[in-house]
């Protein structure tokens, strides 16, 4: 990227981001688009007088968000616990499994084809089995979230670990590094950008998994609330639940982005001058 530069970059921030306006653009533009859509939606419901059972106005949904807030918060906490535990389990299983695929040839031979084949099974279809096995409580939701979410973590971890440049590994071996040290000093940190990519995909999948689990059978949670509100033709509450769920999912995703920026600062900082918008 900078082989032809005569000297070090002075400061990535000042070079890549010329003004506050440009800095805010990545947030401002989607926010404006969203606001435009909401206004159009509101105008549509007011002008056509479409039934609230079919399409509630954004203002109605907002009112429900406020009036049903305690209920929504309570249900959110349950759903969040489900997908966070499912995600955590995916991380704890996925990263070591990815490492084993790369470093233990027998594991790769024995597990990898089955792992890939298993991904063709529609997981929503096996969710009822988990409920039969584990009951309608939280455990079944956590495991469904895990089943859906762990695969990208495994694959991205394996890809990242394999991508370590051979000359770096040779330099470190010349320092007397054993296999574990090569992993610890080179392969694992080198894989972190890939691993975070997998984590971010998994974070959205874990949310899907938790909701799928609640759809199959549950007594609480946002997915359960959507089903109940739908059954009562309370479409406004359905929308309010979906909005809450989106906020949860997006919040979790951005939390991961924050952690990523902190953990692999070097990667983001190296990338910024090229993309200009991070």
């Amino acid at each position: 990227m900078s082989a032809e530069r005569p000297d070090a970059l002075t400061d990535a921030d000042t070079e890549a981001l010329p003004s506050a306006g440009a800095r805010l653009a990545p947030y401002l533009y989607p926010a404006l688009t969203l606001a435009g859509l909401v206004v159009a939606w509101e105008a549509f419901t007011k002008l056509t007088a479409v039934s609230r059972l079919l399409l509630p106005a954004p203002s109605d949904i907002a009112a429900t968000l406020v009036s049903a807030l305690p209920l929504l918060v309570h249900m959110s906490a349950i759903t969040a616990a489900e997908f966070l535990l499912g995600f955590g389990l995916s991380v704890v299983v996925g990263i070591p499994l990815g490492a084993l695929l790369v470093h233990a040839r027998p594991v790769e031979l024995a597990v990898y084809p089955l792992l890939v084949a298993s991904q063709t099974v529609p997981k929503a279809a096996i969710a009822p089995i988990f409920v039969v096995w584990l009951g309608a409580g939280m455990t079944s939701k956590v495991l469904i979230a895990f089943t859906i979410a762990f695969f990208p973590i495994v694959i991205d971890t394996a890809i990242g670990l394999r991508a370590a440049p051979p000359e770096v590994i040779n330099v470190v071996r010349s320092m007397g590094a054993n296999a574990f040290q090569v992993f610890w000093f080179v392969r694992f940190p080198n894989a972190l950008p890939n691993i975070f990519g997998g984590l971010k995909v998994a974070s959205t999948l874990a949310v899907v998994g938790a909701i799928v689990g609640e759809f199959v059978s549950a007594e609480k949670g946002l997915g359960y609330l959507v089903l109940v509100a739908n059954g009562e033709l309370n479409t406004t509450l359905v929308f309010a639940s979906v909005v809450t769920l989106s906020v949860l999912g997006v919040g979790f995703y951005f939390l991961l982005e924050l952690v990523e920026r902190f953990v692999i600062r070097w990667h983001v900082s190296a990338r910024r001058p090229e993309t200009g918008t991070m």
Partner: protein, 273 residues
């Protein structure tokens, strides 16, 4: 670093004990089941504190030879002996520099140099002043906390050089370390390397495809043939040190360069028609 006393420019003493002995070393690969001879038997020694350049065309196996000497890949036949020790696993009393700087993107400049210390389990605090001093010697002070991605190619390669030297190894193995740099940066790096070598007099095996670079730096130049690589000729370079860039235009330098070039031409490597 111990400086061995030797009059600059004195002819290489034959009696000097070999530091590295390369005896009939051979390497064959088997890509897709076909035997591919990368390196025909190679035999030569590196004396203590001697700077040997290996110059040869691309694909002649000179990089393979360096990997064999480093113990990073096994020999097909023959043996490498360093200080009486037969090399069968990576030799660790060494500093290695490759064409790609091989820096760790997630470590700062200082931490990249100290990687050498961390991997070896040595005391970081003891070596940090050495690392900082080395970085200053090659003009990188003030950039210790930068990430490699924020540096130019020349600066990154200087950091890689510091990393290879921080533990004060007696042997330095360099595989086209300046090959990816622009001509001006390259000239400066060659001068810097000569200066560092004159201070410490480490034994150096330096791989390059640049004829002038090989001659300028070395006590001896080993010219290699195209694949399968073997030694085509060995030149003793009797030029006074420290050598200066202007010497490239001197008649003596020209004669050495011509000798290497004619070797290459004899292999049909350079066609002027």
């Amino acid at each position: 670093m111990t400086a061995e006393l030797r009059t600059p420019g004195s002819p290489v003493e034959a009696a000097r004990p070999p530091f590295v002995r390369i005896a009939g070393v051979e390497k064959a690969y088997r890509p897709r089941g076909r035997a591919l001879q990368a390196l025909d038997p190679i035999t030569f020694d590196l004396g203590v504190g001697e700077f040997v350049s290996i110059v040869g065309p691309s694909g002649c196996g000179k990089s393979t030879l360096l990997m064999l000497v480093a113990g990073l890949i096994p020999t097909t036949a023959g043996e490498v002996v360093i200080q009486g020790q037969r090399i069968i696993r990576p030799y660790t009393d060494v500093g290695v520099v490759f064409q790609q700087d091989a820096l760790l993107a997630w470590r700062s400049v200082l931490d990249n140099v100290l990687l050498q210390i961390d991997v070896r389990g040595l005391d970081r605090r003891r070596y940090e002043p050495t690392a900082r001093a080395l970085l200053a010697r090659v003009g990188i002070s003030g950039f210790e906390s930068y990430y490699p991605g924020e540096l130019s190619g020349g600066m990154r390669q200087r950091v890689a050089l510091c990393r290879a030297l921080v533990h004060d190894p007696p042997l330095l193995l360099m595989d086209e370390p300046f090959g990816a740099l622009d001509a001006l940066t390259r000239d400066q790096m060659v001068l810097d390397l000569q200066r560092l070598w004159l201070e410490a007099r480490k034994t150096v095996l330096f791989i390059t495809h640049s004829i002038w670079e090989a001659i300028f730096l070395a006590d001896r130049v080993v010219v290699m043939s195209p694949r399968p690589g073997r030694i085509a000729s060995v030149l003793e370079i009797d030029l006074p040190r420290p050598r200066r860039l202007g010497m490239r235009e001197s008649p003596a330098f020209g004669r050495y360069a011509a000798a290497v070039r004619q070797r290459f031409q004899a292999f049909g490597l350079l066609s002027e028609t």
